[in-house]
């Protein structure tokens, strides 16, 4: 048998990996390392970088200290938390419900699957503008609908208490199809013999759902929750278009602040530090979720 040298394998592997690795290094790793360095400077994002002229100047941990020590960061974190607490339960419920509806093989079900997915394909700008008009307190469709039931609709995007729920509404409309599709895949992976066994044991639809569907869906639910959490911390286009951080700062979130500091206030170093703090927070939550998954995620053998 011819001897296969260990090195031969390495060269071939690197050759095949190189195109992908190059992209990763050039467009991901190097910029991230650059941003990390910038977070320790006071660069204004405008003057061309010339280290020998002292542009930018190193300020050590000053950026981090002023972010964590100031009120704005915690206020913005609280706004993001409000979004997360509202969004994640609702998107999970909505997606699983949609997936259950699309699961049964009735006529025209593929048309409905496409319809549910279309919002995901639209651009956020278009979706946000439409929702801004639907949520208009005096002329919008949502308050019109509520009026039919005799409920007086709130001021939505003009009311500091209802602006974030309005954004949550738009986000659920937009993302529901995407996660419904993922859950659909999960549902179709559940062996029907489990349901038959449950029916034989006399379980009604709700018990079947709670004790068969949900546990067997839990790997998918875990995946969806991790992704949703990461995306929620990165909330941005809806805020910029629907409320621009208003009314009076009620919907200012982390990425919106990063954008402002970087591009409006000429404080690129500060914005860099802010984004790395955001990264640390997302990392922490994801790590926590991975640790907790043993407690509630049921992996089918």
């Amino acid at each position: 048998m011819p001897r296969v040298s260990k090195h031969n394998g390495w060269f071939a592997a690197i050759g095949f990996l190189l195109p992908c690795l190059t992209g990763l290094i050039l467009f991901n790793l190097i910029p991230v390392a650059g941003a990390f360095t910038l977070s320790f400077t006071d660069w204004d994002g405008l003057k061309p970088i010339a280290p020998k002229d002292g542009v930018p100047a190193f300020v050590g941990l000053d950026n981090y200290a002023s972010i964590l020590g100031g009120d704005e960061f915690w206020r913005v974190l609280r706004n993001t938390a409000v979004y997360i607490v509202l969004y994640i339960p609702l998107i999970l419920i909505a997606s699983i419900a949609a997936a259950m509806l699309l699961h049964r093989p009735y006529r025209g079900v593929s048309v409905y699957r496409v319809l549910f997915y279309i919002p995901v394909l639209t651009s956020w700008v278009a979706g946000a503008l439409i929702f801004k008009s639907i949520l208009s307190p005096e002329y919008g469709g949502v308050n019109d609908l509520l009026n039919q039931f005799g409920i007086r609709g709130p001021g939505w995007l003009y009311d500091p208490n209802w602006a974030m729920p309005g954004i949550v509404l738009a986000s659920i409309w937009k993302d529901m199809g995407f996660f419904a599709l993922i859950f659909l895949g999960g549902l179709q992976g559940i062996d029907s013999s489990y349901y038959e066994a449950a029916k034989i044991d006399g379980a009604g639809p709700w018990r079947r759902f709670r004790h068969v569907t949900l546990p067997l869906l839990s790997p998918i639910t875990f995946f969806v929750t991790v992704i949703c959490l990461i995306f929620s911390f990165q909330l941005f286009p809806q805020v910029m278009i629907m409320t621009d951080g208003g009314p009076h700062g009620a919907t200012q979130v982390m990425v919106e602040r990063i954008y402002r500091y970087a591009f409006s206030y000429f404080k690129m170093g500060y914005a860099s530090a802010f984004s790395f703090i955001l990264f640390a927070i997302i990392f922490l939550f994801t790590w926590l979720q991975l640790k907790l998954q043993k407690k509630w995620v049921h992996y089918d053998a």
């Binding site: 009076h248 591009f263 409006s264």
Partner: protein, 449 residues
């Protein structure tokens, strides 16, 4: 090996996916890179001209000046093109490459380009960004190039607006200001006499209330409660946002509180001005154009739009003041990149755009803002284009102009004040509390030298 039908279908599907991906990526790239942008002079031309600019000392060689702007975007690109052609006729050895970007993306792009060293030779800046850029030292000092340039043709206020720390960093591209627009038909319906140049806040309020009572959907006046209106309105009441030498904020003085109370009462007490919810996302221009607004305080750049789209009778007047009159003065500046290799040629182009009679004439004929010049014959021609009939008010307003308080951290300051004004406007805080909180936050976050 011959492929069977399934493999052909798979190949076709792969190619379709590739095509869709490519189309999607390139479409996205185009729209993010150059929304509303246009550039004259192709890429091959740039490569050739770059070699020429290496020898910029030699007059016989063609020099290319790269110029980026935002104010021509929309309908005015053809007028900028006219200016470029006239300029190139007069200066056969200078070629101008124009790039026009939409306002919304302009400053993010410009910031990135300046930071990476790929900024154009000359470009346009609005006033508040001009001050930031000048103070950060990325603009070329134009003072040495003024030798032999008779600056008396330029409007003095406009020229001074673009000097910082005693050095001239820019030339005014154009200027515009803000006046009171009014709907003559609504005034006739409510039996109110038209605004005059002697009107005060009280006269305006009276008229607004009479017009408001014409109907539930008809409003008397609209003047947005935000930073840009506020810094001017306080001066109509003898106050100001900063002290005279710009070393301190004076936001929560009693006169300013009175001013803000007056603006907020219009919305919350008499409702002659619609609340944000009543506006429901409609723009103020649209409200005026729909014939449901008696008076609107907005800029003269609305003239072309209103002339084309309004069917009722309208006119303008100088904005009423209280103890004094104060009006806006807006000007866009033309600057040169400090690291430009063709600075002298770039200055010739900027000088032409800003101060030449030909460029001023093109602007006036097009109705594209006002040239900041003193050529009386050109300005007279401007006065003859109606509506509005009372165009004289545009120049009368110049007598009372105030410039915005501009500091290095300008965007931050504007946002802070804006946020607190919004709180007062929506009735969340009283005007006194809002201004006091604004003063506190400004003192904390804005460094004034």
């Amino acid at each position: 090996m011959k492929w069977n039908g399934r493999q052909w279908k798979l190949l076709a599907l792969c190619m379709l996916v590739m095509a869709v991906l490519l189309a999607g990526c390139s479409g996205g790239g185009k729209s993010s890179g150059n929304s509303g942008g246009s550039s004259s002079g192709g890429d091959s031309g740039t490569a050739r001209n770059n070699e020429d600019t290496g020898g910029s000392g030699d007059k016989a060689e063609t020099v290319t000046v790269k110029f980026t702007n935002f104010s021509a975007s929309g309908d005015n690109e053809k007028y900028l093109q006219q200016m470029k052609e006239e300029f190139e006729k007069q200066h056969p050895n200078i070629k101008v490459e124009i790039e026009t970007l939409a306002y919304d993306d302009y400053f993010t792009q410009m910031q990135t380009r300046v930071a990476s060293g790929t900024a154009p030779d000359a470009y346009e800046l609005n006033y508040e960004n001009f001050v930031s850029y000048a103070k950060k030292g990325v603009l070329l000092d134009l003072t040495p190039m003024f030798a032999g340039f008779d600056t008396s043709v330029l409007n003095k206020n406009a020229l001074e607006a673009f000097s910082t720390d005693g050095k001239q960093y820019g030339l005014p591209a154009s200027f515009s200001n803000v006046v009171l627009f009014y709907n003559k038909d609504l005034f006739d319906q409510a039996n109110v006499s038209y605004p005059t140049s002697d009107w005060t806040w009280a006269d305006a309020e009276q008229a607004a209330e009479k017009i408001r009572s014409l109907g539930d959907n008809i409003f008397g006046i609209y003047q947005p409660i935000q930073f840009w209106e506020f810094y001017k309105k306080v001066q109509q009441n003898g106050g100001s946002l900063m002290n005279a030498d710009m070393t301190q904020f004076t936001v929560d003085t009693p006169q300013n509180v009175e001013t803000l109370q007056h603006m907020v009462d219009r919305v919350l007490k008499t409702n002659v001005m619609p609340t944000e919810a009543q506006m429901a996302g409609m723009g103020d221009w649209d409200l005026f154009k729909s014939g449901r607004l008696g008076m609107l305080v907005t800029g003269i750049w609305a003239f072309p739009d209103f002339t084309q789209n309004i069917t009722f009778d309208w006119d303008i007047e100088v904005e009423p003041g209280n103890t004094a009159k104060a009006t806006h003065f807006f000007s866009n500046g033309l600057v040169i990149n400090k690291d430009s290799k063709v600075a002298t040629a770039a200055f010739e182009w900027l000088k032409f755009m800003s101060a030449s009679r030909e460029a001023a004439q093109i602007r006036v004929d097009a109705g594209w803002e006002l040239p900041a010049v003193n050529y009386q014959d050109v300005l007279d021609k401007y006065l003859q284009v109606t509506p509005p009939n009372n165009k004289k008010a545009v120049f009368d307003s110049l007598n009372y102009l105030v410039t915005p308080p501009v500091v290095e951290q300008n965007a931050e300051m504007t946002d802070i004040i804006g946020l607190h004004l919004q709180a007062a406007r929506d009735g969340v805080k009283s005007p006194a509390d809002a201004l006091r909180d604004a003063q506190k936050e400004l003192e904390q976050r804005i460094k004034l030298q």
